[in-house]
Amino acid sequence: MARRKKNSTVMIVSVIAVVLIAGFFLYKSGWIGGKSQGKITVYSIFQEEEARKILDQFKAETGIDYDILRLPSGEAVSRVQNEMNKPQADFLMGGPADSHEVLKKAGALEAYISPNAKDIPDNMKDKDGFWTGFYLNPVAIGINEQRWKEKYGSDPYPQSFKDLLDPKFKGEIGMSDPATSGTAYTAVASLAQVWGKNEMLTYMKQLLPNLKERPKSGIEPIQKAAKGEYTIGITFLGDQLKIKNQGNPIVSIVPEAAGYEVGGLSIVKGGPNTEAARKLMDFMLTEKPALIYTQSAYAVSVKPSVPVPPGGIDIKTTKYNQSYSLWTAAEQRKELQDALKDLK
């Protein structure tokens, strides 16, 4: 009797488990609970926190739920390219527009000119509508003031990229790997445009001993610098302001020849839910997401009507490289990245 009872418990538990698991798969594939109009799948180069804030808002307004995977831009580009015969994602959110340009050339993107893109200046969107700009963000040198004082006292802060070559910064600078991070690539691509490829490479070679590490994600150096892991992080200005506004002692300097990103949005060609992707594009180009993003990520919106957030810096007041061409950067991407790989 006892044994029989135990066996039936096992049976019941396994039946419940099978039903639950089957239900989970059906739910994931959108078979049940489909009153929300399917799911949209997003590759986000934004930090996940901001992306989730915006997508939660989108979900509240349209009822479209989302799946999200955060990736550095290099990984996003190679993923979308690799998946071209069976796209996994519908929408690519953020990241320097030159990565979107690479994908456009590869034929991996779907053209869509949103009616809401009208007021965006021409140099911040693709003329064929393969990608549309969302924010602007220059590369900057971020310094942990507290650690600076401990190490260098009242020395003046470095004002240019060349200043960073000073041997006193040995192991005190973090910059991500230009091969995987759009941030670091923007920095070197701009230097290549201003100085020429060879001088940029010489510079990077000289900079290496001063670099504590080369992580793959763009934001990481400033987070580590803020935590006191090293003194200086080279990242986009917005990332630095965000961390500064969380109460960390960060000072930001936008040096001459600093490139800038036009953070782009694009729709993946042949994704599982292109319809929803178009809706998301329309939504992204309204003011609400722009406000959410700029207030949280401290970048400047491409829309003239969206104000610079409190605590933010207007890019026009900085010494950024205004002649930086993201189209050239996209063209040189493979060549520069290969050359950089040979350093060390």
């Binding site: 590759y43 996940e48 995977l69 998946e83 504590k212 590490e213 892991e229």
Partner: protein, 551 residues
């Protein structure tokens, strides 16, 4: 009646037993598809140019050197720590043995990247301990790179060494030590000439096991390696850079030492070790091998290791449940609600479901395979046996790499499906169960099965009604082990996740890498809660039949 051998006979027997034939065909097909096909693909994909690039650039040579050096050192450290810890728990009279056994079990619960994460939070330049040292003693900790990596890998893999060593130490008969003592050996001399000598094969085995694990470790080097580049991390970079050829070359190089170790181990095991020759431990005899002073020293050593492990868990929990630990210590459930209990962030749930499915399949597959190979010899069963245990020797990174390369192009496209993640987990865990079950089968007399066959049951029925109940304990134990490993694996599946199928270990890694430490900690805590509650349910179902929480 004498059993007949020979190919003709065995084929004939199979033809009369269609359900066995079916089992054999299905398992062969699965192994060919998920083991041999991806392997062939990885070998085939790089061209001469990729090989030249690999051997031409110093970047890769450095990574290879670094990998060899760090794995050897980590394995050495972990083995020493594991041995001393196991010696203390099994041979000394120190207090709190139960507690120390419990602590050594804890890291099994934790995702492999958690030690790296916790290390960052404690000893990173901005970590809690480092900040404390800086403000009180004005000492600056800088453990990025090799030193940090050694510490983290030692802590992560010490349980593996500890468990291996415990098995070895327990199998040494106290008779020998007592005899040696009667002959006048005492203290260190006794330890050196008897205990250490007898456990040497086991120590070597533990060292090799840890070494190949370190060699393939991906998450920890990525988090705290700094500029100290390692092969597994370089492979990841090349996959990101869309250079599958170069990644394959490195993958193959990563496999070489693992295969060598695998071969050495098989040699070692088949030869048998000293310890088993001496026979089973004699009950009633209690060895007294340590002095009071040694006991105290061992207690101090074990407490230090335990402190490290407990601190790791404590810091993770603190980060998970406070706003931003160190800056704002207000208690909050916010992080947990955002990244664990949130329908848009199902990483922990994904891990749970995929691990469960994969572990059930792995054990079922292992059972079928062990059954047909041990009980129903057929032509080619040796090849099948080899293919089945092969994945043990393959590093997780390599398995993931092989699957993504083979199934994202070419005739069979599985990219982006949960199937690929399940397959990857299954491949890594199935061989462990298969080995265990093969051993169990050999111990069980086959007369009962034959009786069932004579009474008209086919293979499927025999397997379900006779074999499974007899092996229940082994099966459940294998399931539990596979499940815990699957929940925590990172390197095997880091290439395979998609937005729909993000798993917890990868989330932790991503959050830790982008510096969102509180989310990383929250997912780690969520994952451990999920593992614990599942184990609790299993314990409730099987009660005394499984040992999960017995230390």
């Amino acid at each position: 009646m004498k059993e007949k051998n020979g190919i003709g006979e065995s084929v004939g027997r199979l033809m009369r037993d269609p359900s066995s034939l079916l089992l054999i065909l299905i398992s062969s097909a699965l192994l060919i598809l998920f083991v041999l096909y991806p392997l062939a693909y990885v070998v085939y994909i790089p061209d001469a140019e990729d090989w030249r690039t690999f051997f031409g650039k110093s970047r890769y040579a450095t990574a290879l050197m670094n990998t060899v050096v760090s794995s050897t050192l980590s394995a050495l450290l972990a083995t020493v720590v594991g041995f001393v810890y196991a010696y203390a728990v099994n041979y000394s009279n120190m207090a709190g043995k139960r507690f120390f056994r419990f602590v050594a079990f804890l890291p099994l619960l934790a995702p492999s990247v958690m030690s790296g994460l916790a290390f960052l939070l404690l000893f990173g330049r901005g970590g809690v301990v480092s900040q404390w040292l800086k403000s009180w003693l004005d000492v600056e900790l800088d453990l990025y790179g090799l030193p940090g990596l050694l510490i983290v890998q030692t802590i992560s893999y010490f349980p593996l060494a500890y468990m291996t060593m415990t098995g070895v130490l327990r199998s040494i008969s106290p008779n020998l030590e007592i005899a040696a003592q009667n002959l006048g050996a005492r203290g260190f001399r006794l330890f050196r000439t008897i205990t250490l000598k007898l456990s040497l094969p086991g120590i070597l085995n533990a060292f090799l096991l840890v070494a190949i694990n370190c060699f393939a470790d991906f998450g920890n080097p990525k988090l705290i390696g700094g500029n100290y580049s390692l092969l597994a991390v370089e492979i990841y970079g090349e996959i990101l850079n869309n250079e599958p050829g170069l990644a394959s070359v490195m993958g193959m190089i990563l496999v070489v030492p693992a295969l060598v170790v695998f071969w050495v181990q098989n040699k070692l095991l088949s030869k048998g070790s000293y310890s088993t020759i001496t026979g089973k431990p004699v009950s009633g005899l209690v060895r007294v091998t340590t002095s009071r002073k040694t006991d105290l020293a061992l207690l101090a050593f074990n407490s230090l290791v335990a402190l490290f492990i407990l601190a790791m868990f404590a810091i993770t929990v603190l980060f998970a449940f406070t706003r931003n630990f160190g800056r704002d210590n207000t208690f909050t459930l916010d992080h947990l609600m955002k990244v664990v209990f949130n329908p848009s962030s199902p990483a922990v749930l994904n891990s749970l479901v995929l691990s469960l499915i994969s572990s059930v399949l792995a054990v079922a597959f292992a059972l079928v395979l062990a059954y047909v190979i041990v009980r129903k010899p057929f032509p080619g069963h040796r090849a099948l046996d080899f293919t089945a245990v092969l994945p043990i020797a393959l590093p997780g990174t390599f398995v993931g790499l092989a699957l993504i390369i083979a199934f994202s192009s070419g005739p069979i496209m599985l990219q982006g499906s949960a199937l690929l993640i399940i397959a990857a987990m299954l491949l890594k865990q199935m061989p462990v169960g298969y080995r265990g079950l093969t051993a169990s089968f050999k111990q069980i007399d086959k007369s009962i099965e034959e009786a069932a066959t004579n009474l008209g049951a086919d293979s499927g029925k025999t397997l379900a009604t006779i074999v499974l109940p007899m092996l229940q304990k082994t099966v459940v134990a294998n399931f539990v082990y596979a499940f815990m490993k699957n929940m925590n694996t990172l390197s095997t599946i880091v290439f395979l996740i998609t937005p729909k199928w993000v798993v917890a270990a990868v989330s932790i890694f991503n959050y830790a890498e982008t510096g969102t430490y509180y989310w990383a900690a929250a997912v780690a805590v969520g994952l451990m809660l999920a593992t614990l509650s599942t184990l609790g349910v299993i314990k409730l179902i099987f009660r005394s039949k499984v040992k999960i929480f017995d230390f």
